[in-house]
Structures are given as structure tokens and as C-alpha cells.
């Protein structure tokens, strides 16, 4: 019995030949219309017709490339490979992020990072990362599974306070910090990108719900939708 299920551990050589994995560009090309998870909310029309001033501004950064990068911090080839491709080090300190140009990386767990890049670059980045890294690593394109919202404005923090049990005070949440926490009975990766700017990475399946929630939570401050 036990010989059937006995797992075989890949040798170091097998682990290194990551290039043998079949990769697929998930984007169909510019001819096919892409729809973000909030397509049905029609934020473009809301931005045109809605309020122009208010305490909270919401903008969707849609159709970006999201890559989950996993590997051990003890694996020097993994960290060096990421550095070579991205041009900056993966943030190894818990709850931190790193950013350069259009690329940004969030610490998710001790062995997990979320890289967000322009949508068309994701496949190329994935290939280059796989090429540059070796050992026991994983890179998964999750672009279709989540989207990015940006909350900004003087009352953005008040909306966060309603939505998450996490302490978003300056003393606990400086610019650049990343926290994955409960967000309105759903979950979000919350990153502070500026004094009054907060980025939320949310799940596709919760996007509609969170859009409704954010409208409700920011109603008293005045919600401005930006396209």
C-alpha cells in the first residue's frame, strides 16, 4: 500500500529545470475586449456623471498583471534572481513593500510575494523570473483573480476604519506598509501608498460586493469615482 503513495522528492537538478514547465500567456491579445471584475459597475460612467468633489476618491487600477512569487528566503538563487529581473530586492521584512517604476512588490507571507506589473508585461516577467530563479520556487499568474482599487482623499482613512479591524493610525501604518486583513467581511491586501492614498488588492468574486460596500461606507464623506 504505502509504496503506491510514497512521494518522491525532486532532486536539485529537477528543481532547477523550471523552464520545462508549460507556460501560457493568459491574455488573448488586444483584439479581444478585456473586462475587469468591476466591469458591470461601469465606473467610467460614474466618473463622468458622478460627484467631482468629496472626501473619498475611488479609482480602479484595472487589468494589471498580478504574479504570486513563492520561494524560500534561504534560497540565495531565488532572491538574486528576483533582484536581477525586477531591479530591486524582494522585501524580506514582514509587512513591507518595494516599488520601482511600474513594478511593485508586496510582502504577503515569509515565503510569498505579490508582484503587480502592467498587464501586458506579466507574461514576459514571469518567463524572465523563471529563467533567473532556480530551486524550489513557484510563480503563478493570478491576474484574472483579483483587481486593484485605490482609495484616496482626506476621509479615505475613515472608510478603512469602518471596513477593517486593523489599526490604520499613522503610528501603526506608515506609508509603504502592507497588511493582509479582513476587509468588510471579505479580505484585502491593504497598502499605504501615500499620506492619503491606500491601495486595496481585492478578489474578483468579491469585487461587486466591495464596490457596494465602499459606496455605502463613503456616502457620508462624498464619494468621487475616478476613471
Amino acid at each position: 500500500m504505502s509504496d503506491i503513495i510514497a512521494p518522491t522528492k525532486p532532486t536539485a537538478e529537477q528543481g532547477a529545470s523550471a523552464a520545462s514547465i508549460a507556460l501560457m500567456d493568459q491574455l488573448a491579445g488586444p483584439a479581444v475586449r478585456a473586462e475587469s471584475p468591476l466591469y458591470n459597475a461601469d465606473l467610467a460612467t460614474k466618473a463622468r456623471q458622478g460627484a467631482k468633489t468629496g472626501g473619498v476618491t475611488l479609482q480602479e487600477h484595472k487589468l494589471l498583471g498580478h504574479l504570486v512569487i513563492r520561494g524560500s528566503q534561504d534560497n540565495a538563487a531565488f532572491l538574486a534572481g528576483a533582484q536581477a529581473v525586477l531591479g530591486f530586492d524582494l522585501p524580506t521584512q514582514p509587512l513591507t513593500s518595494a516599488e520601482s517604476g511600474a513594478l511593485s512588490v508586496r510582502w504577503i507571507a515569509p515565503d510569498e510575494w505579490l508582484l503587480i506589473a502592467p498587464g501586458r508585461e506579466a507574461f514576459d516577467l514571469e518567463n524572465r523570473l523563471r529563467e533567473a530563479m532556480s530551486g524550489h520556487i513557484a510563480i503563478v499568474n493570478v491576474s484574472g483573480g483579483q483587481t486593484v482599487l485605490e482609495l484616496s482623499g482626506p476621509d479615505a482613512r475613515a472608510v478603512l476604519k469602518k471596513s477593517t479591524p486593523y489599526d490604520v493610525h499613522d503610528s501603526n501604518f506608515p506609508v509603504g506598509k502592507v497588511v493582509t486583513s479582513v476587509f468588510a467581511k471579505s479580505q484585502a491586501v491593504i497598502r499605504r501608498t501615500g499620506e492619503q492614498n491606500w491601495e486595496l488588492v481585492i478578489r474578483r468574486s468579491f469585487a461587486d460586493y466591495l464596490w457596494l460596500w465602499l459606496q455605502d461606507a463613503s456616502a457620508e464623506y462624498g464619494l468621487v469615482v475616478k476613471d
Binding site: 500500500m1 504505502s2 514582514p94 509587512l95 507571507a109 515569509p110 510569498e112 479591524p165 486583513s181 479582513v182
Partner: protein, 96 residues
């Protein structure tokens, strides 16, 4: 609500972010094919339910999604210690 320290994130978080996964340090029988039904049944189904110190497995479910161990007093709910998988607890029940 409890504030629970996540050893991976390095800070206290709200209880809402965590799930308890029951008793910690349950060793799987080394030779499952040759252990008795009693041994296997105890491994699968039988758990301690102490009054006092209890070592538990928790997961930071909406945070870093990592497992860790918690030593908790089941009477007062006080968390005595949090330690990573593979580490030994320093707070243990004294034999009485």
C-alpha cells in the same frame, strides 16, 4: 476579542483574522500500515480537552495564511506563548 500575536507577521492582530485548528503536536504514526486500529483511531479522532494549559495549532487565515502554535489557558483564555511550527514550547503544564 483576543489580540493574537502572529510570529510570521510579527505583530498582534485581531482574533477575527485567525482560525483555531485544534490540538498541536499530534504525531502521525510512523508506520500507518502496521499500527492497530486503536492507535490509528486515536491518532485520527481522539483529542485532549484539558482544563488549563493547552497547546493549540492556529492559522493566520486572512493574513499570511501560515500555521503556528499557541499555548493557551482554556480557563482564562490567556495566551501564554506563541511559537512557530518546529519550535519547542517554553511554557508547559507541570505534572500534577
Amino acid at each position: 476579542m483576543l489580540l493574537i500575536y502572529c510570529p510570521h507577521c510579527g505583530e498582534h492582530r485581531d482574533e477575527e483574522e485567525f482560525h483555531s485548528k485544534g490540538q498541536a503536536h499530534i504525531a502521525r504514526p510512523l508506520d500507518p500500515d502496521n499500527c492497530t486500529d486503536k492507535e490509528w483511531g486515536e491518532y485520527l479522532f481522539f483529542r485532549k480537552n484539558p482544563r488549563g494549559l493547552h497547546h493549540e495549532l492556529w492559522i493566520h487565515a486572512t493574513g499570511c495564511r501560515k500555521f503556528f502554535n499557541v499555548t493557551r489557558d482554556t480557563v482564562s483564555y490567556e495566551i501564554k506563548e506563541v511559537y512557530k511550527i518546529g519550535e519547542r514550547p517554553s511554557v508547559v503544564a507541570t505534572a500534577s
